[in-house]
Symmetry: C2
Subunit: 424 residues, 2 copies
C-alpha cells in the first residue's frame, strides 16, 4: 500500500475556531441567569422578540391564503435561482421603489431571513482584520457574525437623552482605514427609536465624507407610530451606496418563514458590478429562501390589506404608551418612549437599587419575585437598562407594569438628601 503520513493514532475531533468564536451574547447572559419564577404568579415573558408567541398578533388571512395558493399551484417545488425568482424580486422592487430611490428586480436579492441578508452583506464587504461600526445598544447578531468571521466590531454610542440618536462625533471618531461598513438600524431593536430625516442626513454625511458604505438594517421599516415621519436611508442618499436589509419577519408577523431580502441602492455606481457579483456568488453557497414563500411573496406584498398594517402599529403604540406611562412614575426607572418597532428600553438608576449588582441581577430578581422577565440590556452591550417587548396582550402588559412597580417600590432607596435616614 501507498506510504501514508499517519495522521494520529487517537481520535481527537475538535470544533473549529469559527464554531468556538460564534458567541451569542443573549444566550450567554440568559443561560447564566437563574430564571425561577415565583410560583404564586404566572410568568409574563417580555423578553422575546417574536410577535407570534402569545397568539394575539396573527398574520393576515391574505398572507396565509397566498401561501396555500403557492402550494396548490405546484409551481414552487423546484430550485429557484440562488438570488430568488425574478418575479418575486420584481414584487419586492415594486413594493419598495420610490422616486428618490428607484429599484428594479436586479437590485433585489432574496435571502433566508433578514439574518442571512446581514450575513451576506458583512461577508461581501469585509475581510478578516477589517472593522465595522455597530450601534450600542444594538442587535447582537452583527457582532456574533462579525467576530466569528475575524472581523472587528467598533461600537458607536446611541444617546438615550436624544431619543437614541447616534452620537455622530463618537461614530466618526471610530472610522479608520480598515472600516469597511457602517451598520445603521432604523427603526431600532432594542430601542424602538426612529431617526428623523435630518439625523439620517447627518449620518449619510459622515459616511460620505469617509467613503464608508452602509448596511441599513430596515427590518422594522414602516413599523412607525403615526405622526412620526420616517424615511429609508436610501431615499435620502445622493452618493453613499447602501445595502438595505429587510424581510417579512416583523411587519407581516411571520419570523419563522425565513424570508428576507437585500435592496441594492447604488445610484452613483460605486459598487459597480463587483459587489453585485460578489453577492450573487455568496448567495450560491447555501441557497436562500423557501420557494413556497418566494412563490407567495408577490401576493403577500400586494394583497395584505392596509388595515392589517395599521392595526398592528396601533396595537404596538397603545401597548408602548401603557408601558411608558406606567413606568414613568415608578421610582428609579427611566423608560424611553419609542416611536416604532416593538421594543421599549428602560433605564435603571442602579444607585437607587443598592440590593442589585447590575441589570442582570435586577432582571433576574424580577423573575424570582414577580415572574416578569425582561432582557437585561447587557445583552445589547448596554448595562443599567432593560428591554421590554411590547407585543404581549394588553392585560399582560398592564399586569407586568403593576408588578414591576411593586418590585421597584420595594427595593428603591431614595437619594440620601431626600430622606433623613442618616439623621435618625
Amino acid at each position: 500500500p501507498a506510504k501514508v503520513k499517519s495522521r494520529r493514532q487517537m481520535w481527537d475531533v475538535q470544533p473549529s475556531e469559527m464554531a468556538n468564536n460564534t458567541l451569542n451574547p443573549i444566550r450567554a447572559i440568559v443561560d447564566g441567569m437563574k430564571l425561577t419564577p415565583n410560583p404564586d404568579k404566572p410568568m409574563i415573558a417580555l423578553s422575546i422578540g417574536d410577535p407570534t408567541v402569545f397568539g394575539n398578533l396573527p398574520t393576515d388571512d391574505a398572507v396565509l391564503q397566498a401561501m396555500k395558493d403557492a402550494i396548490d399551484s405546484q409551481k414552487f417545488n423546484g430550485y429557484a435561482p440562488s438570488v430568488g425568482y425574478l418575479q418575486s424580486r420584481q414584487a419586492v422592487a415594486n413594493f419598495y421603489s420610490c422616486p428618490e430611490a428607484p429599484l428594479q428586480a436586479e437590485d433585489v436579492i432574496l435571502t433566508s431571513g433578514c439574518s442571512q441578508a446581514i450575513e451576506l452583506v458583512i461577508n461581501v464587504f469585509c475581510n478578516p482584520g477589517d472593522n465595522i461600526l455597530v450601534p450600542c445598544p444594538g442587535f447582537s447578531l452583527y457582532k456574533t457574525l462579525a467576530v466569528s468571521m475575524g472581523i472587528k466590531v467598533k461600537l458607536y454610542n446611541l444617546l438615550p437623552e436624544k431619543s437614541w440618536e447616534i452620537d455622530l462625533q463618537h461614530m466618526e471618531s471610530l472610522i479608520d482605514e480598515r472600516t469597511s461598513c457602517l451598520i445603521v438600524t432604523n427603526p431600532s431593536n432594542p430601542c424602538g427609536s426612529v431617526f428623523k430625516k435630518e439625523h439620517l442626513q447627518k449620518i449619510l454625511k459622515v459616511a460620505s465624507k469617509h467613503c464608508v458604505p452602509i448596511l441599513a438594517d430596515e427590518i422594522y421599516s414602516d413599523m412607525v407610530f403615526p405622526g412620526c415621519n420616517s424615511s429609508s436611508l436610501a431615499s435620502l442618499s445622493s452618493d453613499v451606496p447602501i445595502l438595505s436589509c429587510g424581510g417579512l419577519a416583523k411587519r407581516w408577523l411571520v419570523p419563522g418563514w425565513r424570508m428576507g431580502w437585500i435592496l441594492i441602492h447604488d445610484r452613483n455606481n460605486i459598487f459597480g458590478s463587483e459587489i453585485r457579483q460578489g453577492l450573487v456568488k455568496l448567495s450560491q453557497r447555501i441557497l436562500g429562501a423557501c420557494t413556497v414563500v418566494q412563490g407567495a411573496l408577490e401576493s403577500i406584498l400586494n394583497n395584505t390589506p392596509e388595515r392589517f398594517y395599521r392595526d398592528t402599529i396601533s396595537f404596538l403604540q397603545s401597548n408602548s404608551e401603557i408601558c411608558f406611562n406606567e413606568l414613568s412614575t415608578v421610582p428609579g426607572l427611566n423608560p424611553v418612549m419609542p416611536s416604532g418597532a416593538m421594543y421599549l428600553m428602560v433605564g435603571i438608576e442602579m444607585e437607587r437599587f443598592p440590593d442589585f449588582k447590575d441589570d442582570v441581577d435586577f432582571t433576574e430578581r424580577l423573575v424570582t419575585e414577580q415572574s416578569v422577565f425582561c432582557l437585561p440590556a447587557s445583552a445589547f452591550e448596554y448595562p443599567n437598562f432593560f428591554r421590554i417587548v411590547v407585543t404581549v396582550p394588553e392585560e399582560m402588559m398592564v399586569e407586568a407594569c403593576i408588578r414591576i412597580r411593586e418590585f421597584c417600590q420595594h427595593y428603591h432607596r431614595p437619594p440620601s438628601s431626600d430622606c433623613n435616614d442618616l439623621d435618625q
Copy 2:
C-alpha cells in the same frame, strides 16, 4: 470635532476575498459555453439536477396536504429554535433510527437544505489550512464551500470500471495530519452509484485507522433501485463518528423547500459535547429551515405512501435502463449503469472524436446540432465524461438518446486498425 484618521478620499468598495473565492465550477463552465440550440429541434435539457422541472415528477399529495395543514394551524409562524422544533427533530430521528444506528431528537439538527447541513459540518470540523477528502467525480458544492473558507480540497478517485467504487489506496494516500474530514457521497451525484456494504466497511476501516471523522452526504439515501442492497454508513460503523447530511429535496421531490438535516452518529462519544455544541452555535448564525416546512415534517415523513417512493424509483430505474441500453451501443460512448439516485455518467472515447477538444466542446456541439444539453463532467473535475439527469419524461429520454446516437455516428472515427483509411 474629534480627530479622525480619514479613511480614504475616494470611494473604493471591493468585494471580500471570500466573495472572490466563492467559485461555482458548474456556473464557470456552463457560462463559458455557447449554448445555442438547433432551431429545428426542441431543446432537451438533461443537465439540471432538479427533478421538478418537467412536471412529470410531482411530489405526493400527502406532502402538499401536510404543508397546508401546517399553514392553517397557525402554529408555525414564529421563530423555531435554531436547530429546529424538537417535535420535527424527533420525527426525523424516528424515521432514520435503526438498531445498529439509533437516533434521538437531540441527534438531529434541521438546516436550510442539505447544502446548509454540508456547510455546517465542514465549518465545525475545519480551520483554514486544514484539508478535506472529496470524491472525484463529485458534487461541486464541497469544493466551493471549502475553498471559500480557506480549506484545502484533496480529490480521491472513484473507479468507473468498478461501478465508481472508491480507489481506497489513493484515498488513504491523501490523508495527512491536517485532514479534518472525509466526505463520502452515497448514493452518488454525479455517478448514480451505490456502494455495497463490504465497500462501505472498507471505507470505515481507513477512516478508523487514521481517525478521520466522516461527512456522509446521504441526500439520495433510499433512492436505490430494487435488488441493490444499500446501507447507511452509520449503520456499519462501530467507532468512526459520522455526521450524515440529508433532506427532503430529492426523495420527496421538493428541492426548493430547503429542508435538510444533520444526523449525529457518535456512539463512541468521540465528538463529545464540543462538536454538538459547535454545531448548535453555528446554527445560530443564520437560523435554518422555514417553520412551515418544519411544522409539516412529521406528517410528511409519516404519511407519504410507500407507493410514492416506489413509483419514483421505478421511473428513475426505467429511464436509466432506456438510456444505458441505448447509449451502450453508440460507438465511442461508454455509459456506466447506475444503481440509484438520478444520474448516469457516460464516458467519451475522446480519441474517437478528433473534432472535439474535450468534453466541454463535445457537449457544446451536442447542443448546437442536436439541442440536447448534458453537463460536461469537467464540472465535476472529471474530463472525458458527461452526466445525464434521468428525471426527464420517458419520451424525451428516448428522443435524446436517438439524437446523441446520430451525433456520435456522425463524428465517430473508428480506430485505424479497424479500417483502412491509411492504406487507401
